[in-house]
Amino acid sequence: MPLVLTEDQEMLRESAAGFLKDEAPVSALRELRDSGSEDGFSRELWAKMAAMGWAGILVPEEYGGADFGMVGAGVVAEEMGKQLTATPYLSSAIMAATALNALGSQAQKEQHLTKIAAGEELFAIAHDERGKHSTLGVALKAERMGNGFRLNGAKTFVADGHVADQIIVSARTSGEPGEANGITLFLVDSGTDGLKIEKTAMVDSRNAARIDFNNAEVTADAVLGEIDLGADGLEKILNAGRAGLAAEMAGSAAQAFGMTLSYINERKQFGVAVGSFQTLQHRSAHLYTEIEICKALTLKALQSLDEGAEDAAKLVALAKAKATKVSLLAAQEGVQMHGGMGMTDEFDIGLYLKRAKVAGELLGDSSYHGNRLAEMLGY
């Protein structure tokens, strides 16, 4: 498949870009932050996005979705990244939809996919249990109890955890943390007894939560996929999220770079435009190159997921590792090139720095994916 967007995807990008610039620019994130919004996103805006088909971007048409595939999902994520738009998109539209498509029973699909597409039900993926991401480091215990299970343990860094209606939880039904075998996924209503959900304000002003499970009881119907054999499905969900996030970060990087470029080209110092200094020109040219690479690679990873390509997991790890480094570099260079102004809350570049760091950590940072890649490559 050529590594370019199709006409449809290009149109999607244009409409997303236009909509987000108008309806959800960076100032919207500021407003959510400064008003101390409890939700951390605008439900009204999410309804509009759902109407545009974004909530159901991965949902099959039979459930009212747009079924645009991961490339389409990434195109929207990239545009959201440009504006730092805060929405439940990654959790609900990308990861939860991927989970239900891949693992859901007929009943689960029917119950949830339509609602996801309509933007009526919000999801969160509760997976990490400590500050560093790990695919197989699941320790939260799910013990059989009669016909159901009892969950005990704690999850952290759950994006959109405190606004979610449904929570997809990775749990251990057997084996030890680090082992693939013994992981089971559960679909848990956020109102279930025994759940304690605490919103955790993150430095990027985006939603996350810690969730404690204290003897939370679920029925056997809550199992998503097969008992003990959830690792593959989990990997699928995480990889969709990682690729989507990489796209978001590529967008953020491009935007941070763009605003920095405008700033230095206009700002004068020592009587000339700062952007005329050769060192800044070379650093900008290097950064531009890295961002172009990051964008191409992200598209390739998204395409590989749509194709179910053999090397999809490798490409996703690559894309997340690279996007993590490039978006951080773009934000760091951005702050430095803005000079003192870059340190003020008044300018937007600092928000990109904060998001780069948090998004870099989310679903695995560059060291994590670098280590995985080395393993995949046999060393």
Binding site: T200, G339, N371
Partner: protein, 394 residues
């Protein structure tokens, strides 16, 4: 017993008797400092007593001459005092731009009257000073400043705007660069003046930083009257004073990072947070690699700091070497804080109570300013290229 040994014994005893218990917790951060001045609210009676007692002996500024309120100590004695304070975990009694910046400037360039007037108050913590250098749209191009001081006979009338004035809203007096000759080329025509922040026409507005705190202000001067007696050094020669202080400041910032190589290593923090694999290595080989690369550079930089300091003790004049320290020290500090965040992962990115309100993240964000304030890294590199390497002008 040598004089120095006797001094040590006496100092130890005096500290033992006079340093309040709550001033012995070894805390040395900006937050726990006593900044003094008219508006200062002591955080404890101990803090008040400690400043009063140390100020009375001039030991807040141990090497300043005693006629200006200083301790009149030799370098060796001052070193002993520092060691003895460290031994009991004593806090610094007083932090103030008057100590670190104004003092050195006045001692070198000030008139006798100015030294007598201002230095003792600094020593006793009665006046808190701030620095008025940067201006909006000037950035690294300090000398392009536009705040003007018009000659009005026995005083100047100062009008203009400063930015990045540290704690201007909490300071009592300001030392300030102003333009006294608008015809002269940039570096000429600048003067160094002092005035009271309560003067009519002075107002301040805190700047909110990305870290959420507001240590800096925008400061506005609207026809502020400044007596000519408050001109330091000669009219239109303020740049000499500023340059001297900038070098001084860079060394200070650079050596701030000297402490980096001490204390807990990044590796230790990482092992605690992440654990080790069966080979005893940090259980994240790539993060381990980044950590050791940065620790190598930190420890190596420690050697340069020591070498510079030892050369300075030997009487060598450092000059642009301060730019070397400022550049590398601040860039290194940024790398270290990036890694600290990576070690902690999402835990450190929470801005919650159980996470000390995200102090680690705030510190991380704060370090981004290190390579901007006091002359950007780019400016330091330019200084090195020009003044040390003598590379040709473009």
């Amino acid at each position: 017993m040598s004089d120095l040994q006797q001094f040590r014994a006496e100092t130890r005893q005096w500290l033992e008797e006079n340093c309040p218990a709550d001033m012995r917790d070894g805390k040395l951060s900006e937050d726990t400092s006593c900044w003094g001045g008219r508006k200062w609210e002591f955080t404890s009676e101990g803090q008040r007593l400690w400043l009063e007692r140390m100020g009375a002996r001039g030991w807040t500024v141990p090497t300043w001459p005693s006629e200006y309120g200083g301790g009149g100590l030799s370098k060796e004695e001052a070193a002993v005092l520092k060691q003895e304070m460290k031994a009991i975990g004593a806090r610094k009694p007083h932090d103030n731009f008057g100590i670190t910046m104004l003092g050195p400037a006045l001692l070198k360039f000030g008139s006798e009257a100015q030294k007598k007037e201002h230095l003792p108050k600094v020593a006793r913590g009665e006046i808190r000073w701030c620095q008025g250098y940067s201006e909006p749209n000037a950035g690294s191009d300090l000398a392009s400043l536009r705040t003007k001081a018009e000659d009005a006979g026995d005083h100047y009338v100062v009008t203009g705007q400063k930015i990045w004035t540290s704690y201007a809203d909490k300071a009592d007096w300001i030392f300030c660069l102003v333009r006294t000759d608008s015809e002269a080329p940039k570096h000429k025509g600048i003067s160094f003046v002092l005035f009271d922040m309560e003067s009519e026409g002075v107002s301040t507005k805190p700047i909110k930083l990305i870290s959420g705190s507001s240590p800096f202000c925008e400061t506005f001067f609207d026809g502020v009257s400044v007596p000519k007696a408050n001109l330091v050094y000669e009219e239109n020669k303020g740049w000499d004073v500023a340059k001297y202080l900038l070098t001084h400041e860079r060394e200070m910032i650079g050596s701030l990072f000297g402490g980096m190589s001490e204390g807990r290593s990044l590796g230790e923090l990482a092992v605690k947070a992440i654990g080790t694999n069966p080979l005893g290595q940090l259980d994240d080989p790539l993060l381990r690699a980044k950590l050791i690369e940065t620790e190598i550079d930190s420890l190596a930089f420690g050697a340069l700091l020591q070498s510079v300091s030892d050369r300075a003790k030997g009487g060598e004049s450092l000059g642009a070497v301060s730019s070397v320290l400022k550049y590398y020290g601040t860039e290194l500090n940024k790398r270290r804080h990036e890694l600290k965040m990576e070690i902690g992962g999402s835990d450190e990115m929470e801005m919650t109570d159980n996470n000390n309100d995200g102090q680690a993240a705030r510190d991380w964000l704060r370090t981004k300013g290190n390579s901007i304030e006091g002359g950007t890294s780019e400016v330091q590199l330019q200084i090195i290229a020009k003044h040390i390497l003598q590379m040709p002008n473009a």
